[in-house]
């Protein structure tokens, strides 16, 4: 494989990295604040994406940015709803119990989403995307190209994640999230309103993932399985990076798309690479996880008895 091919493959991974990082950020926010591994994350995002598409088709005069914002708002509310209606009431339940609750939510959303949007099986935003163009540029005497939409998605992801990390670090909400993550009971006793914190985390997770969903769906047929891969890879990214901190899973979300794109590269994996791309990625990631069972950046926990 040539250097150009190598760099191009990395470049091709950028949009995916952005999308997965957004989903992963949501998953880890939820995990850290409510000790829940949210299986419905991808479907909340899908619901938001359906809402964007619906809005874009319904009100053709509306700016696509506003549609995106609307979809984010829908997912924001939906995420908050899940927390307020279910997870908050399930405090006394074990983490695996909460996990199963989100599986139930997933099952409901999978079936409700297509019906709620009247079985929209159409191309996302039907021509109404920000750009269809492909950006070409020369560097080091080599020619690279990337879709403008993908680049936009990556840029948005970077901005959104930057804002989220800044918020985590400098705002009162961020402090609350970190306190809740460390110990919910103590945080509560110290006057942190953990209810608001967790609800907002769930909501934000939904909204962030919706942006990911929007850029995943751009130009592809819309279906409930839109975020299937993102959901599973998002989880695996968290396990791979280590659930213990906020930035570690993002590292996982960077590694997985790279693995994915290299696994799909015909010059490495042969002519059938595309067919086995998904399977190869899962296999590689699972092996990595077995090597780093506590996450690449995670620490080994010693159980007290």
């Amino acid at each position: 494989m040539s250097l150009q091919d190598f760099l191009q493959t990395i470049l091709n991974s950028l949009p995916m990295i952005g999308r997965y990082a957004l989903v992963t950020m949501g998953i880890v926010l939820i995990f850290r604040t409510t000790a829940t591994t949210n299986f419905a994350q991808g479907l909340i995002a899908t619901f938001g994406t359906f809402a964007i598409t619906w809005a874009a088709l319904q009100w053709t005069g509306l700016s696509l940015w506003l549609c995106l914002l609307l979809g984010m708002a829908v997912a924001f509310v939906l995420g908050m709803l899940v927390d307020v209606a279910l997870i908050r009431r399930a405090r006394h339940i074990t983490p695996s119990g909460k996990q199963m609750i989100t599986m139930g939510v997933m099952m409901i959303l999978v079936n409700v989403t297509p019906v709620a949007f009247n079985n929209l099986i159409i191309y996302n935003t039907q021509g109404r995307s920000f750009s269809q163009g492909i950006l070409q540029f020369d560097m080091l005497g080599m020619r690279f190209n990337i879709t403008e939409m993908g680049l936009l998605g990556f840029a948005m992801a970077v901005v959104l994640l930057g804002v989220t990390f800044a918020a985590l670090k400098y705002t009162k909400w961020g402090l609350g999230v970190r306190a809740t993550a460390a110990n919910e009971t103590v945080a509560q006793m110290l006057g942190v309103n953990t209810r608001v914190i967790t609800a907002f985390s769930w909501a934000l997770a939904g909204a962030l993932a919706t942006v990911g969903g929007f850029f995943t769906g751009a130009g592809a047929p819309l279906s409930v399985t839109l975020m299937g891969n993102a959901q599973v890879f998002g989880f695996l990214a968290c396990v791979l990076g280590g659930f213990g901190s906020f930035p570690a899973p993002i590292l996982g979300a960077v590694i997985i798309p790279l693995v994915y794109n290299f696994a799909g590269n015909t010059s490495i994996m042969g002519p059938n690479a595309g067919m086995w791309q998904n399977a190869m990625t899962f296999l590689a990631v699972l092996l990595l996880i077995l090597i780093f069972p506590n996450g690449i950046l995670g620490k080994k926990l010693i159980k007290k008895v």
Binding site: T37, M100, I101, M107, V232, F235, V239, N278, L286, P293
Partner: protein, 386 residues
């Protein structure tokens, strides 16, 4: 006068009903009687209904293995779909492409592959913390899904794998008098006896029907064997491991051994159920084995109360059986299949949040409620006793 009441022998029926296997046998008898009714030509029992029950039986076999994993060992896996699919595809491939392999060999092959898988997942489970295990097994299941879709030579891809005839009970394949297929001399003589003649002139007992009966026997048998294991020191050791892994270790329970065992149980049962599925329905597509299937199994076991085999069967009946057996004649449910799945999702949530004991707990609560109500009625009618 001496009171012999305490020495009265308990009635045989009552004693039999108290036996733990009574419920299993009762289920078996009910399932069997449906088939018998159908053979006798009762219109009420449609063949779609029997197929529905057959699928419930197949999935309940998966459920028993999962009961061990979730209810006893406390481990959640979302890889079930992949394991079942693997069994089905191995059976499909062997029966279609390698007809010289005997049916037992097919089963053995699927089980062996399942054993390897179970050991692998068991080892993974030792390295990965409980709640992340579901995630990792989900990834594993995705790999299988890709294989089912893409390995055309083995699975026939998205077109689905199919076999043309039933792998066993070939001699029932012929139409007409089913025993005549045996071509035995004695048959001609025996079938002259009037009473037996009536039996032989019944509707044909074809391969599908015989396989159904075999399925009933297998289901009930596996229920018994699983029950035995659950009540034994092995079952207790797993429960101990689920409740407190440190106490379990201090009491001499090897986490490695019992986690492996739990996963082995679940993968072997799943692989075996896959073979049964392929043999009975003769067809399988990759879309059968998505995460929704794994979630359905999880839901079925949760509904049944996680540790109760009769409960697991009933859970499977609710999750997998409602649509094909009861609801497909109702136009609303036929056209809106999503309603069922949404209901199942809601049931999962409700059970986890309010009824961790599932149907079993619900039954107990119902009993208590009835008791309370009758007591209330008594109080209203007769006043307080003094």
């Amino acid at each position: 006068m001496q009171n012999h009441a305490s020495l009265q022998p308990e009635s045989a029926v009552r004693r039999a009903l108290k036996h733990p296997f009574a419920g299993f046998l009762l289920i078996g008898l009910l399932l069997l009687s449906l088939q018998v009714l159908s053979i006798l030509g009762v219109d009420f029992v449609k063949s779609s209904m029997l197929n529905g029950f057959a699928s419930v039986m197949v999935y309940s076999i998966v459920g028993y293995g999962f009961t061990f994993l979730l209810g006893y060992a406390g481990l959640a896996s979302l890889g079930t779909a992949g394991f079942v699919g693997l069994g089905a595809y191995i059976a499909g491939y062997l029966i279609r492409e390698q007809p010289q392999v005997p049916y037992l060999g097919v089963i053995l092959g699927a089980v062996l592959v399942s054993v390897v898988l179970g050991v692998a997942v068991g080892f993974i489970s030792l390295r990965i913390e409980g709640i992340f295990l579901a995630i990792v097994t989900l990834g594993l299941s995705e790999i299988f899904y890709q294989i089912f879709n893409n390995w055309l030579g083995f699975t026939n891809g998205s077109m689905g794998s199919s076999i043309s005839k039933y792998p066993i009970f070939q001699f029932f394949q012929n139409e007409g008098n089913w025993l005549s297929a045996l071509n035995a001399d004695w048959f001609a003589r025996v079938s002259e006896v009037p009473l037996l003649k009536a039996v032989f002139d019944m509707k044909t007992l074809d391969a599908r029907r015989s396989f159904y009966i075999l399925l009933v026997v297998i289901t009930v048998g596996l229920m018994m064997l699983t029950y035995n294991l659950g009540k034994s020191s092995t079952g207790r050791a797993m429960l101990a491991m689920k409740n407190s892994s440190s106490a379990a270790q201090a009491m001499g329970i090897s986490l490695l051994k019992y986690r492996l065992l739990a996963f082995l149980m679940s993968t072997i049962f799943a692989g075996f159920a896959g073979v049964m599925f392929m043999s009975y329905f003769k067809f399988s597509t990759p879309t059968n084995y998505t995460i929704i299937f794994s979630l359905n199994i999880l839901a079925a076991v949760l509904i049944g109360g996680s540790k109760n085999l009769v409960g697991t069967f009933l859970g499977c009946l609710i999750v997998f059986g409602l649509t094909p057996i009861f609801l497909q004649d109702i136009p609303f449910f036929r056209d809106n299949s999503w309603v069922i799945n949404v209901t199942i999702g809601t049931i999962i949530i409700l059970i986890v949040m309010f009824y961790p004991g599932g149907l079993v707990q619900l039954g107990q609560k119902l009993k208590q409620a009835i008791h309370r109500l009758t007591a209330k009625r008594r109080l209203y009618k007769y006043g307080e006793d003094d």
